[in-house]
Symmetry: C2
Subunit: 240 residues, 2 copies
């Protein structure tokens, strides 16, 4: 990369987490089966994961729009869970079971390129999630998957949800960097478009199997600084 | 430690940083000499570090008392620096020099037991600084000293300064833990007394040379759950 490239000024990388770093769909399906199958329930586990994730944007929209005050994603996940239970004929689950089930999102597995990719990128950049997940959730995912974060940034320190501008600005401010020295890395063009509007650099990762085989964005639908097939490819393109 | 000990319930350790983990005095003296000696200045470098640190509590008190809105420690450090310059006959320093000098606090060295102690403690506990230092400052110290934090907590996520209760409560809430499952680790009894009042467990570390040989607290002056000579000793006592 030429030294006068805008990307050469980047000092910190911010990461979307669900989908970009984590295979949430297979992980939530597995965790739901682990929690519910021993109680005699037989579901379309992937369908259950999709339905739960389907409530994700509407749940956050209530916060973004100001209809409800900021609530951590753990709280929204629980509300969203209770909304979908009837659709799967799940009634009478104890609070212990619901609490355990809600922690499915703390037990996601990373895509295989993520742990080695972050280790490589950390040599050159400061690394932080800029996720809608709350801090406790991010900490559990990092411990489970050995993610070497420098800090946990994102919705909880901003008090709002992406793609609201304040979430990206809060991440930059926390590291004391102007937006143009920060790069948002995500598998979702909407996230990157919002970050770019705030002045951040952007990198797209093609997670083509996010919602099942061949369902994810194969390429960005908005202009980005870098597009990679996975984190190792992004590391190559950033000279890390 | 017996399984019914209150300390056996602890899942997260929060750390004071300046003094408890970092030898700020020798480090700031060294950084001041590095920045100013080439410009022809000859000072009592340790005295300069002490004077700068002497403005620390009064600077934060302006925020705690509500006289000024919350400002990051980097901002208070810069104000405090400008207050002490005349006492050392330092005039006409350029903004570049002042900015570099202010980063002395980002370039502190840890006491030698800290990196190996934290690696040991991380196997059993979630670890986070609960410091009055801001996030960018904590990130730089962690990268410099290889501190394996799970998250960066403390004043910036609370919007206030220790020993105000909200700083301890914000740290517990960020990890989704009740205070009694969290332990504050510090070399200063005032910090531990405040944490204990919020319901956290407490561990004291004797940093007897914090302000120069034999000047630090040799033992806590308040009741604590654990008192150790250094982080390895605390790890022993926590069974980590």
């Amino acid at each position: 990369m030429p030294a006068d490239s805008p990307v050469a000024q980047v000092e910190a990388l911010f990461f979307d987490v669900f989908g970009t770093l984590m295979n949430w769909r297979d992980s939530v399906a597995r965790e739901a089966e682990r929690a519910l199958a021993p109680l005699g329930h037989k579901l379309d586990w992937l369908g259950f994961a999709d339905a739960w994730r389907g409530e994700y944007q509407p749940g956050m929209e209530e916060v973004r729009s100001g209809r409800i005050p900021f609530s951590k994603l753990d709280v929204l996940h629980r509300r969203n869970l209770e909304r979908i239970l009837p659709r799967f004929g799940l009634t009478g689950l104890s609070d212990d079971v619901l609490r355990d089930l809600n922690l499915a999102w703390h037990r996601l597995d990373a895509w295989p390129d993520v742990p080695p990719g972050l280790v490589r990128l950390k040599r050159k950049f400061k690394l932080a999630p800029c996720s809608n997940g709350n801090i406790a959730l991010m900490v559990d995912l990092a411990r489970r998957n050995s993610l070497p974060w420098d800090a946990i940034l994102g919705s909880e320190i901003a008090g709002d949800y992406k793609p609201k501008p304040r979430v990206y600005f809060a991440a930059c401010e926390a590291l004391g960097l102007p937006p143009e020295r920060c790069m948002m890395v995500a598998a979702h063009s909407r996230d990157l478009a919002a970050a770019s509007k705030c002045g951040l650099r952007t990198a797209h990762i093609a997670r083509v199997n996010e919602y099942g085989p061949g369902t994810g964005e194969k390429a960005p639908t908005v202009p980005v600084d870098i597009a990679g097939s996975d984190l190792m490819d992004v590391a190559d393109k950033l000279g890390a």
